[in-house]
């Protein structure tokens, strides 16, 4: 088996640098410049994997990104191993270790291969049909399917490699470094345009660069020599950036493209250290030139999937570029002229070419003539009907085609071979074009979908064979002509170029080649990775699937990692033939990005580890940390949740904090509340329009609670706003709503009421807020601001004072979210921690107790104050919240007013906010728990749910808020909260549990 199939003739492989590697544990050698595939072929290894469904032996079939079979796992390291790598793309490096996928225990003996013999039982849609029944068996089926259908193994440890992102802007991006891409890049660079040329290979020049054939001449030299000179000349342009080993992943709108550059995958492990592995380029190009080329089509005949059956153009590349013979007795099977180039290359390299089977009646182009002159034998108007050989093709059988091509005639002749090259013509790579929004048209002449020039997005052009130009002279002349208008060039360095090339005239295409056996007895593979055959497509059509998208999913044709690059066209062709439809009307399936798979590393780049999302900390944060606060995330903010002492748990800490705040004094860092500074001569009118209540008459120096609705009448946000002067207010919002409220207010100001003279500035971070509440809060404040008259007559509830604390300006509001006598001191943030410490010192004799959000929530619940976002969920009106008192009914308009008397919002059976008391005062309800009246009716009617629930230390019982259908009318009613193990009895009450008369505000 081990054989050296390398010839010494080529210029592309460095045959002085030998590289050792392992494949499935076997130590092998290749050369620098090889791909894994070329090195394996040089070692006479074709069998590299097993197919997905039938586990048929599969060999290397192509030499590029369209490879369906040679998919390998690279490396064993649990953090570095790379699954699903195409052997045709990965460059050989010292120490490379690769192994076959989808086979067990080994590629040579694979248990799943039994599926091959069961294949009559595994038709299209087999998984859908069989494993759906009985439903309870799915888990068992799944186990087997997962085990036998696994592709590669994902790494199990985190990836240590470095990945990068780079943004780039250019005038022109050229995608593809074949001959049309090279010409495009040169013309663009010559004009002085900032140009980027990317190509996925390690070398430029596409397939022309190794086209050593006298039939192809440009300006009297062989086309490969001419192109090599052109590539050399690109070095003269400093405005041209060339990126090799870079493949375009996605082409988005507005010429935004993603390209992945491979920087180290071709280096030995030692050389990679500290280097960036892959870079994702995010390119904004003013114009894009797509020169993505075309790929050769296979031919569809029975058992066309055996190892050793290779695309004819790939055989040519292996011999001409890598100097590797893919066999020693090769035959070719074709429907076009390009296989003859392969035959000539093989013959000139001393490889035996047995026969060329050609389905056409004849062809007399230059290249065919040259082949005949070299003594090559052609079997015209013939087709391969079957092949033999399990792990490698051994022979194939040929019969004559009937005139109409629908059947075979005459005798069957058997030919021995160890490699069969197949060529079914060419498919333009239009993936990028369609990704960008371009639409395709069908060319009946040679059955290709090509870009429709009338449906091409602006600022892009497709050139060369991806545009359906396959003859060298057409490629060059049309590329130059099209670029003249695209780049506004009057003349070019290529004017007067002379090209000689063969002219293919004879064409014949048969999507599914006939056999002497009925279709049901053959295995003509369409999708090599997913094992779907022409038979499956026909079955899907018989079963009623018509849309190509449906057939694709039902048969899994084109759904592998190769995305059907090879055989999508054949599937379409067979559907068109079977249904008598024109292929152009059938359309194609959608090509979605990425064009070739991307690593997660490339997608995330350096964005690993902690999130970039802001963590917002108040100016007093360090004090909280030092005093052992537990924190809660509120949006981006870190807020003290509770301050446990001496090993307290949350419950214990919150009970202590809550009691202290009502018995003596509590202190809260309220800095996270949103603060919006509102100024302008129309500020009062503006507030009238955005809040439900009236603002014009609010005295300077007074505060007012406001409720803000959405236009649909639902409560959106709330907070206290203070009138600082005639035309100056400061609005507070909820912590979480701050940014959205500002956006909403800006929206109305800019779009609906531009006539209002109002200016909004967010000052949330500029001011910190310290809230001191409790019966002793006044005494503490008196110590901190000795000069300020704190009497109720001078400084009543809902008013504010501008004052100084030790020469620093601050605003003190006498407002309360706890129901206690309470002050909020607003001070420039950089003085806040100092002030907080001063407050703690002043409050020491009063047991001033710092409390967090949990205690704040408990205290306000005792008073029945809502928290928007907790007790509301965007479906409750003020009336639903029993807050009708805050609606300015006399006001002409405010946001949401009209919605408050829509037929739906005035319904009396809406869910409404109520209080709940449990029959057992120790039983604390779960927030979110459902409320029902009758547990025995089926279905049980859900009346509402609990929104807030606490054990109140000040009342020594459990309290809760809830929303309940028609709740306002149900005071005193008994309901049930059904829980997993018990039913809890509750009674609907008022929402205010504590100090119903509000006496404590002025205590």
């Amino acid at each position: 088996m081990s054989k050296n199939l390398r010839i010494n003739k080529n210029n592309f492989i460095d045959q002085t640098t030998r590289i050792s590697f392992r494949f499935n544990g076997q130590k092998l050698f290749g050369y620098k410049g090889d791909t894994l595939a070329s090195a394996l072929l040089a070692n006479n290894i074709h069998l590299v994997g097993r197919s997905f469904k039938y586990h048929r032996p599969r060999g290397i079939m192509t030499c590029g990104s369209e490879e369906p079979n040679a998919i390998v796992q690279i490396g064993n390291d649990p953090s570095l191993t790379d699954p699903n790598v195409r052997a045709t793309e990965i460059e050989l490096y010292e120490g490379l270790e690769a192994s076959s996928q989808n086979c067990w225990p080994s590629v040579n003996f694979d248990i799943g291969g039994i599926n091959n013999f069961l294949s009559p039982l595994l038709p299209a849609g087999f998984y859908y049909k069989t494993f759906m029944w009985p439903a309870s068996f799915w888990e068992k089926y799944e186990y087997f399917i997962r085990h036998s259908a696994g592709l590669g193994k994902a790494p199990t440890k985190s990836d240590p490699d470095i990945y990068d992102h780079q943004y780039s802007h250019c005038d022109i991006l050229v995608v593809g470094g074949g001959i049309s891409g090279i010409i495009s890049a040169k013309l663009s660079a010559e004009k002085g345009l900032d140009t980027i040329l990317i190509d996925d290979k390690s070398f430029l020049g596409g397939s022309t660069i190794y086209q050593e054939n006298e039939c192809y001449k440009i300006n009297s030299v062989n086309s490969n020599k001419w192109l090599a000179n052109e590539i050399e000349s690109l070095k003269n342009y400093p405005n041209l950036l060339i990126k090799n080993r870079t493949s375009l992943a996605a082409f988005h709108g507005y010429n935004y493209l993603l390209a992945r550059e491979n920087l180290t995958d071709h280096l030995s492990i030692n050389e990679r250290k500290g280097k960036v592995r892959q870079r994702l380029w995010k390119i904004r190009a003013k114009k894009v030139i797509i020169a993505s080329g075309s790929i050769e089509r296979p031919l569809i005949f029975s058992n066309n999937d055996r190892p050793g059956i290779i695309l004819s153009s790939s055989i040519k590349k292996y011999i001409d570029y890598y100097g590797v013979k893919t066999g020693e007795n090769i035959s070719l099977f074709t429907n076009n002229d390009s296989a003859y180039e392969t035959a000539i290359s093989l013959k000139k390299s001393g490889v035996k070419v047995n026969v060329i089977v050609d389905i056409r009646k004849n062809s007399n182009s230059l290249i065919v003539q040259e082949a005949l002159e070299l003594g090559l034998k052609v079997l015209w108007e013939s087709t391969v009907v079957d092949t033999q050989g399990y792990k490698r093709i051994k022979s194939f059988e040929v019969m004559k085609l009937s005139d109409d091509g629908n059947s075979v005639i005459g005798n069957k002749a058997k030919h021995n071979c160890d490699c069969l090259g197949i060529s079914g013509g060419w498919t333009p790579m239009v993936h990028l074009f369609t990704q960008s929004g371009g639409k395709l048209k069908f060319r009946n002449d040679d059955n290709v979908f090509i870009p429709d020039e009338n449906k091409t997005p602006s600022d892009q052009i497709s050139v060369g064979s991806c545009n359906g130009e396959f003859k060298l002279n057409e490629i060059i002349v049309n590329t130059i002509e099209n670029l003249k208008s695209f780049l506004s060039l009057s003349n070019t360095c290529y004017d007067g170029i002379k090209i000689i090339c063969p002219d293919e005239k004879s064409k014949r295409n048969i999507w599914l080649l006939p056999s002497d056996k009925p279709v049901g007895k053959t295995k003509p593979f369409l999708d090599f990775q997913n094992d779907s055959t022409a038979k499956d497509v026909k079955l899907a059509l018989r079963e009623g699937f018509k849309s190509i998208e449906h057939v694709k999913r039902y048969t899994t044709t084109g759904m592998g990692t190769d995305q059907g690059k090879l055989s999508n066209m054949h599937a379409l062709g067979i559907i068109a033939d079977t249904t008598g439809t024109n292929m152009g009307e059938l359309g194609t399936t959608t090509f979605r990005p990425p064009y070739t798979p991307l690593t997660f590393g490339a997608i995330v780049g350096r964005n690993v580890g902690e999130f970039f999302d802001h963590t917002r900390k108040t100016a007093i944060h360090n004090w909280h940390v030092k005093n052992k606060a537990e924190f809660e995330n509120v949006g981006q903010w870190k807020r003290p949740w509770y301050f446990p002492k001496n090993g307290e748990n949350m419950q214990q800490a919150v009970q202590r904090e809550s009691k202290a705040a009502r018995d003596s004094a509590g202190i809260l860092d309220a800095s996270t509340l949103g603060k919006i500074d509102i100024q302008g001569t129309d500020a009062s009118e503006f507030l009238n329009r955005v809040y439900t209540n009236a603002w014009s008459k609010l005295e300077i120096g007074k505060c007012r609670y406001g409720l803000m609705l959405n236009e649909d009448g639902m409560v959106y946000d709330d907070g206290v706003t203070t009138r600082l002067s005639e035309n100056h207010y400061i609005m507070t919002t909820t912590t979480g709503g701050a940014a959205n409220v500002l956006s909403k207010l800006e929206d109305y100001l800019q779009t609906e009421w531009p006539e209002l003279d109002v200016y909004l500035t967010t000052v949330t971070d500029q001011y910190s807020t310290i809230s001191i509440c409790g019966p002793n809060s006044k005494k503490i404040l008196a110590k901190i601001v000795p000069g300020l008259d704190l009497s109720d007559s001078n400084f009543p509830h809902m008013s504010f004072k501008d004052t100084k604390i030790r020469n620093v300006n601050c605003r003190i509001m006498r407002i309360s979210f706890t129901g206690e006598h309470s002050y909020e001191i607003n001070i420039q943030s950089n003085y806040a921690e100092d002030l907080w410490i001063k407050c703690m010192e002043a409050g020491k004799e009063f047991n001033l107790t710092p409390y967090g959000t949990e205690t704040m929530h408990l205290l306000r619940a005792e008073k029945g104050f809502i928290i928007t976002g907790q007790d509301t969920d965007g479906t409750l009106t003020p009336s639903d919240l029993q807050m009708d008192w805050i609606i300015g009914k006399k006001k002409f308009d405010f946001i949401g007013k009209r919605s408050l008397y829509r037929s739906d919002t005035i319904r009396e059976d809406r869910k409404q906010l109520v209080g709940l008391l449990t029959d057992d005062p120790k039983e604390v309800l779960e927030e979110g728990a459902q409320l029902v009246e009758n547990i025995n009716t089926k279905p049980v009617e859900m009346l509402g749910h609990v929104t807030s629930s606490y054990f109140s230390p000040n009342l020594n019982k459990s309290i809760a808020l809830a929303v309940v259908k028609s709740g306002k009318k149900l005071k005193g009613k008994k309901l049930i909260v059904p829980m997993e193990n018990k039913n809890i009895n509750v009674t609907i009450t008022d929402t205010v549990f504590y100090d119903k008369e509000n006496k404590r505000l002025n205590a």
Binding site: G437, S743, D747, F892, S899
Partner: protein, 91 residues
């Protein structure tokens, strides 16, 4: 990803903007005079057409200005941007 030509800042990446839905839906001047149906029409009914659409956009991570945009939703081509209060170029 679009490039949007903010009428105040110039061309910027789409990630800086947020879309505010259909444009030229003026808030009724006298909502109280509208029937439930008329108010619902203003409140809820928005077009989502394939083709040329008039939209409100906000340069949220830039100048924070609202403006209008004419966009063909079938190919994302932005045909015009114009300031709030300005007349749409064509209807």
């Amino acid at each position: 990803m679009f490039i949007i030509n903010c009428p105040y800042c110039g061309e910027r990446d789409q990630t800086e903007f947020s879309c505010g839905g259909e444009a030229h839906i003026e808030r009724p001047k006298q909502p109280t005079e509208l029937s439930d149906d008329q108010w619902a029409e203003y409140l809820f009914m928005r077009k989502n057409i394939k083709g040329v659409q008039f939209e409100r956009w906000n340069h949220a991570h830039g100048c924070r200005k609202w403006f209008n945009m004419v966009r063909d939703t079938s190919n994302d081509k932005i045909q015009a941007v114009y300031k709030m209060g300005e007349k749409p170029p064509v209807k």
